[in-house]
């Protein structure tokens, strides 16, 4: 009974080694970031595996905005949160209704609409920067955080629609029909059947939208200019344009900036587990 098959074990060992290598590869930059964030500002690039005198003073400087570059740290972090949250709301509003309409109401142009959405991705987002700049300019939105929010929602929504559409199949149509016989309007079916049963996918889509917004640099840099309106990545980018910038402080900001998504991920993981729809129908 306890005879261990050798081959699977070997394969597993191989996988573990491979996994360890990938993990190391991923963690190395993070390690550097953390180490640098603990290095006193003066020491800069000592190239050491562990700083001689690790200090948390850098964190104090950043959190109290005690530096020229970081004088608006909290405000800019707030901008990042605001933009991420609002874009996410936009993406939800558009993609949930669109995917519901395409998959459940099945209008005549449903197939066409879902294809059109993906065509957005035929052109790399980078190439659209100038057109977007122009469009926002002509709407008088340049410099406004709305410009960034609209842009991010534009890029995130098609993918969100596509993912939702793919997963809508896991909610059986009979549930809609049962609700219809019970007297539910399409809007009630949307709220009472579609939304609750799509929660795992909705969480995944939301995470995607938040990440896209959180990490957005190019458009934020292009569309926002005022110190009080830029998001944190744009501020971090300014470090790079200065030779004498305090790198450890940049690293501290980086560490702090990566915490919210990490926390969000662990919170969301509970809901991402599929299987909520399991047991609704048999066979």
């Amino acid at each position: 009974m306890h005879e261990i098959a050798f081959k699977p074990l070997l394969r597993q060992a191989g996988l573990i080694v491979l996994g360890a290598l990938i993990l190391l590869w991923t963690l190395l930059p993070l390690y550097h970031m953390v180490i640098l964030s603990l290095t006193p500002v003066g020491e800069g690039f000592a190239g050491k595996l562990w700083p001689d005198a690790p200090t948390l003073d850098n964190y104090r400087i950043v959190l109290t905005q005690d530096n020229y570059y970081l004088s608006r740290f909290w405000l800019q972090l707030g901008n990042s949160v605001l933009v991420a949250f609002t874009s996410c709301v936009f993406v939800f509003a558009l993609s949930l209704t669109a995917s519901f309409a395409i998959t459940r109401l099945r209008p005549r142009f449903a197939g066409f609409a879902s294809h059109m959405a993906l065509i957005t991705y035929l052109v790399p987002a980078t190439f659209l920067a100038i057109p977007f700049y122009q469009v926002m300019g002509s709407y008088g939105l340049l410099g406004s955080r709305w410009a960034l929010i609209i842009t991010i929602a534009t890029f995130a929504t098609p993918y969100a629609i596509w993912v939702l559409q793919q997963n809508a199949g896991s909610v059986p149509r009979e549930l809609d029909e049962a609700a219809e016989i019970d007297g539910a309007s399409p809007w009630q079916i949307f709220r009472l059947v579609y939304l609750p049963l799509m929660v795992p996918t909705i969480v995944a889509v939301g995470a995607f939208a938040v990440m896209l917004s959180w990490n957005e640099y190019l458009y934020a840099f292009l569309l926002l200019s005022d110190e009080d309106r830029i998001t944190l990545p744009v501020m971090l980018g300014q470090f790079l344009s200065d030779d004498s910038a305090p790198w450890p402080l940049l690293m501290v900001s980086g560490v702090l900036y990566s915490l919210p998504p990490a926390i969000l991920y662990f919170l969301a993981r509970r809901y991402m587990a599929t299987g909520l729809a399991a047991g609704s129908v048999k066979g």
Binding site: E177, A178, I181, P196, L276, A278, S280, G283
Partner: protein, 391 residues
């Protein structure tokens, strides 16, 4: 899309029995309603402008409180008929009447029709109570009424104590009963069942189906039940409507369908049958003289006129086996043990005749190659025209 047949002829289908006393609802209950489906045509769009006709000139009448089964092979359009009745599908032409009131243009939730889905379609994120209460909640029924209505619907299916459970915590049979309770809570005029037992194991299926039947009798609600299982149809129904490729082949009481099938398809769909070529020689006094299996014999004459060349249908259990000197001589060609019964293939002349019987405790053990004599009661022979393409 739909045409209303302004003056739909009110004709009962051939051989449709008048509602019997036994199928009428018991006293003190709301009056059950009659269902009439007239000349229903339904096709599905295939894309590119083509359409697949699925239901053609479908006519069926259900007496108030009657339990009728739609029986037919997979893909013949049973589900489509139910969905059309429930208001989930549009149709091209025809009329649907509940007590002579057209419901064809009403939206699904105004038809007062309860549908039990094959896969139950319970809302997995709502408790059993909320599943059943859903339609009442949508109609903004007062909370106290919701409680009492849901409680009585759950009680009707024997699940009083299961209200707080989630559907995922129920067995298949219990989920099925919740689905029935959900259909009952609206006090529907018509109950539709789409193969509601097909996901249950064989034993439970038999138990649940008799429960269902009792429940329907008690409530007196008119019911249309879809299945492709002839045993289910036979045991449940007041009448059976046998369907084939979107049309009704025959409507009748189970015994009638079994003993006097209208077509070879019906005969074969509801059980094994010997279809033996025969020739009519003479007809007199409600009997016909035929020649089959190399002999002459008399058979009951069917109502309709028949051509000379006919098929004589003979159920295997009506064929008896005896010693070589009794009846028509034949040779046992193959034997198949089925548990409760044993099936024998007997070569008579150049025809193979099937016979089944219980071989339990037989003193006489029949073996392949044995010479036997076969016999049957002539009244059990049912004649059909032979022109029909064999199925």
């Amino acid at each position: 899309m739909q045409q209303t047949l302004a003056k739909a002829p009110v004709h009962a289908p051939a051989e449709s029995p008048v509602p019997t006393a036994s199928s009428a609802p018991a006293k003190g209950q709301t009056l059950a309603k009659a269902l009439s489906i007239r000349h229903l045509d339904k096709s599905y769009a295939l894309g590119g402008g083509r359409r697949l006709p699925v239901v053609t000139d479908f006519n069926l009448d259900l007496a108030p409180g009657e339990f009728v089964t739609l029986l037919g092979p997979s893909g013949c359009g049973k589900t489509t008929v139910l969905r059309t009745l429930a208001g989930l599908e549009d149709f091209e032409s025809g009329e649907i009447l509940l007590d002579s009131l057209s419901i064809a243009r009403l939206p699904a939730h105004h038809r007062k029709i309860g549908l039990v889905f094959q896969n139950y379609a319970l809302f997995p994120h709502m408790s059993v109570f909320e599943n059943v209460a859903y339609s009442l909640r949508l109609r903004r029924v007062a909370e106290a009424t919701v409680r009492s209505e849901v409680a009585s619907a759950l009680a009707a299916v024997g699940l009083e104590d299961y209200g707080p459970r989630m559907p995922g915590q129920l067995s298949g049979g219990q989920q099925q009963r919740v689905a029935v309770a959900r259909a009952l809570v609206m006090h529907p005029d018509l109950l539709l069942f789409d193969e509601p037992l097909s996901n249950l194991d064989a034993k439970l299926r038999v138990q649940v189906r008799s429960e269902l039947r009792r429940l329907q009798r008690r409530l007196g609600t008119t019911a249309l039940f879809v299945t492709h299982d002839q045993d289910e149809a036979m045991s449940l129904s007041d009448r059976i409507a046998v369907m084939k490729s979107g049309r009704i082949e025959q409507v009748g009481a189970p015994e009638e369908i079994y003993a006097r099938p209208a077509t070879l398809f019906v005969a074969q769909f509801v059980g094994k049958v010997n279809a033996l070529p025969a020739t009519i020689l003479d007809e007199a006094n409600g009997q016909v003289e035929i020649e089959m299996l190399g002999t002459r014999l008399r058979a009951p004459s069917p109502a309709t006129g028949l051509p000379r060349d006919v098929l004589a249908l003979l159920r295997p259990e009506a064929v008896t086996l005896g010693g070589p000197d009794s009846g028509l001589p034949g040779i046992v060609e193959d034997i198949e043990f089925l548990g409760d019964l044993t099936e024998y293939g007997i070569r008579v002349g150049d025809t193979l005749v099937t016979s089944v019987r219980s071989a339990l405790g037989d003193a006489w053990k029949i073996r392949e190659g044995d010479r036997v004599g076969i016999g049957f009661k002539e009244q059990t022979i049912h004649l059909l025209p032979r022109t029909e393409a064999a199925v």
